[in-house]
């Protein structure tokens, strides 16, 4: 079983707190009954209250748990659906922040990204390509086109100077990349992201949701090594912090991994020599080059089973609440 929105499962941790609060209300109820009937309060009345409260609390808690699981989007099993799309539209979303100039991958993170982009585009000549760059802001360097001359020109011009706003704002880049697909074509939309993951802001959940809604997978390529390296400056030195020490930039792959997983994409490491080939191979499979009729496997959403369970438990809870227990216990 997998979950589309696993982050919602954290809400399950709040349920014990709810249980404690309900237990407190039971104790308060017992005390109220004792106050009402005083010395006549019989043990069986108290027992009924306690057992009823326990059963109702368990049923209610399980119902809520079931709802939380339903919200998290449980999926299992796969079905084949005919894929009516053919060909591909690829937006290369490239981080052009200064950290991409680090040379822990030869010739540099940005330089190696450029080579992989060219290799992938050459392997997929039928695909249409676009390039979106981002730093503190995002910009469309070349819109979706099959003009190889314009694409090559844009790839050659990739540099941090293209966007002046400092920073690394990936959400803006992703949102702009999603808008770069013109729509109205039977092609598969795909975003290939090149970044070292050093984004100041987290990735907006709304943007991820939008990508998922539009079935746009993000194939994330981590640019850099865990050891990292220094950022070269225009005067031939390296960037230093306020204490005068060189700034070492590593990689932060967790966000990139989550983004790829959440959108149905894959994660790659630019430091691996086979990345270009693997990426192109995976993209070729999506595009379905040479295939007549394509089928793709789609996970089956099973949230409704958990909602049904929750409704059943709530109904049982109502029945238990409204059955006279006197004489049964």
């Amino acid at each position: 079983m997998t979950f589309l929105y696993p982050q919602y499962l954290w809400f399950l941790l709040a349920l014990p707190l709810l249980g404690v609060l309900l237990l407190f209300s039971v104790l308060r109820g017992r005390s109220a009954i004792a106050t009402l009937v005083g010395g006549y309060a019989r043990n069986d009345v108290m027992n009924i209250l306690t057992i009823k409260s326990f059963v109702v609390t368990v049923l209610f808690s399980v119902a809520l748990s079931s709802l939380i699981v339903a919200i998290a989007g449980p999926r299992w099993g796969e079905v084949s659906v005919e894929d009516e799309r053919r060909g591909m539209e690829i937006v290369f979303l490239v981080d052009i922040s200064n950290s991409m100039l680090v040379d822990d991958i030869a010739p540099s993170r940005l330089g190696r990204s450029r080579e992989v982009i060219r290799a992938v585009a050459a392997r997929l000549p039928e695909a249409h390509h676009a390039i979106v760059v981002f730093k503190g802001g995002a910009s469309v360097l070349v819109p979706m086109t099959d003009d190889p001359a314009a694409f090559e020109l844009a790839v050659s011009n990739l540099s941090p100077a293209l966007v002046t706003a400092p920073g690394t704002e990936l959400s803006g880049g992703l949102a702009l990349a999603a808008e770069t697909f013109p729509g109205g074509t039977p092609r598969h939309p795909v975003i290939v992201l090149f970044s070292d993951g050093g984004h100041e802001e987290g990735i907006s959940g709304r943007v991820v949701e939008r990508l998922r809604d539009a079935s746009i997978p993000v194939y994330a390529v981590i640019a850099g090594t865990p050891a990292g390296g220094t950022i070269p400056t225009t005067d031939g030195g390296v960037l230093r912090d306020s204490a005068g020490d060189p700034v070492i930039v590593g990689i932060m792959e967790e966000r990139m991994r989550r983004l790829a997983e959440a959108t149905g994409g894959e994660l790659y490491y630019l430091s691996e020599g086979t990345t270009g080939n693997r990426l192109a191979g995976d993209l070729e499979q999506i595009g379905g080059a040479g295939a007549g009729v394509l089928f793709r496997q789609v996970s089956v959403d099973r949230y409704h089973l958990f909602v049904l369970l929750a409704l059943f438990l709530l109904t049982v809870m109502l029945l238990i609440q409204n059955i006279r227990w006197k004489g049964l216990v």
């Binding site: 407190f24 209610f60 039928e126 001359a149 770069t180 729509g183 109205g184 039977p186 539009a214």
Partner: protein, 333 residues
């Protein structure tokens, strides 16, 4: 448009009145104490409306709303969006637009030649939904503004940002045509055309318009050459982007109709003369009618499930109910 993926589950709503009866109206259901006091021959006690009783009523409403929402979520509320998918490729078109200073001549309504050209190109692009369209601007030099693309919003945005003299003072028609041909050369489209809009004669660049037209012709690209502006003198007024000063003057020379006709004929295209805004519009209408491609369209329905939001609201309501009923009011289960 909204649809339900599993509408059969909505029948569960029929059970709700029964459950409401069971919980709130069935007599002898326990959980409450009956007071057998009544006035003689009169009515019994009526519980006064207090804050607690109001909270209980709110809580009841909240609980049953949550149950209804759960049933709705179970039915799979889904938003559908229809998208028109073009199964055939349209034309590949490059619009080559002169932005030399003379395009500021005010002999073409509504403002000047450039604005008139911009307006008709905009309307033309809006009608060519399935065509890959690009834009080249030129004057002393030529530059690709947008490669052939279906992203017409970006194209129109770039068209709006073209300004007079942004590429110097001159008219490099040959360079512009060569650049447009270069960017049409590698595209997949079967039919490729260049629409050239100019008001001058070629006086810059290292490629002659005829040579560029021959190259375009050899690549199977047709050129529609449009001469913009009236014969005779015309007033011009424009702001030089280099010094920010406004220049006014008179234009005496216009385009060379013979040269433009030759360019068009070399490629199997056509030459048009557009002396006014209306004529320019008519020219584009003629091109629009002449250059058509077969269109096969499929409607694709995208489904966007929206049950998650409904479930979240239901969950929040259930929690709200239990907090009100059990913790605030202190109702026993």
């Amino acid at each position: 448009m909204w649809v339900l993926e599993r509408p059969g589950y909505m029948l569960l709503l029929l059970l709700v009145p029964f459950l409401v009866y069971l919980r709130h109206f069935r007599s002898n259901r326990g959980g409450r104490i009956a007071f057998p006091f009544t006035f003689y021959g009169g009515e019994g006690f009526r519980a006064p409306v207090t804050g607690r009783s109001l909270l209980l009523r709110v809580s009841t409403l909240v609980f049953w709303s949550a149950v209804v929402l759960l049933i709705v979520a179970l039915s799979g509320p889904t938003r559908t969006v229809r998208e028109r998918i073009f199964l055939t490729r349209g034309l590949d078109i490059m619009v080559v637009l002169d932005v030399s200073p003379t395009m500021a001549a005010r002999d073409v309504q509504p403002v000047n030649r450039l604005e008139a050209a911009r307006a008709v190109v905009r309307r033309f692009v809006e009608q060519r939904e399935n065509d890959h369209i690009g834009l080249v601007g030129f004057s002393l030099e030529a530059a690709l503004r947008v490669p052939p693309t279906l992203n017409h919003d970006l194209l129109l945005d770039s068209l709006d940002r073209l300004y007079l003299m942004e590429m110097g003072d001159g008219t490099a028609i040959g360079m512009a045509l060569a650049l447009a041909s270069l960017h049409l050369q590698g595209t997949e489209g079967g039919d490729k055309i260049i629409i050239l809009l100019t008001d001058g004669v070629n006086n810059a660049g290292e490629i002659s318009p005829e040579a560029a037209a021959e190259v375009a012709g050899s690549l199977g690209i047709r050129i529609y050459a449009i001469g913009v502006g009236s014969e005779g003198e015309a007033e011009i007024e424009f702001v030089n982007p280099e010094d920010g000063r406004t220049y006014r003057g008179t234009v005496r020379e216009g385009y060379d109709p013979d040269a433009l006709r030759r360019i068009a004929e070399l490629t199997g295209g056509r030459f048009f003369s557009a002396a006014g805004g209306g004529t320019l519009e008519a020219v584009f209408n003629a091109i629009n009618t002449a250059e058509t491609a077969e269109r096969r369209v499929r409607v694709q329905v995208h489904r966007r499930p929206r049950h998650q939001l409904v479930l979240m609201i239901a969950l929040a309501l259930l929690l709200f109910d239990v907090i009100l009923r059990r913790l605030l009011v202190g109702v026993a289960p």
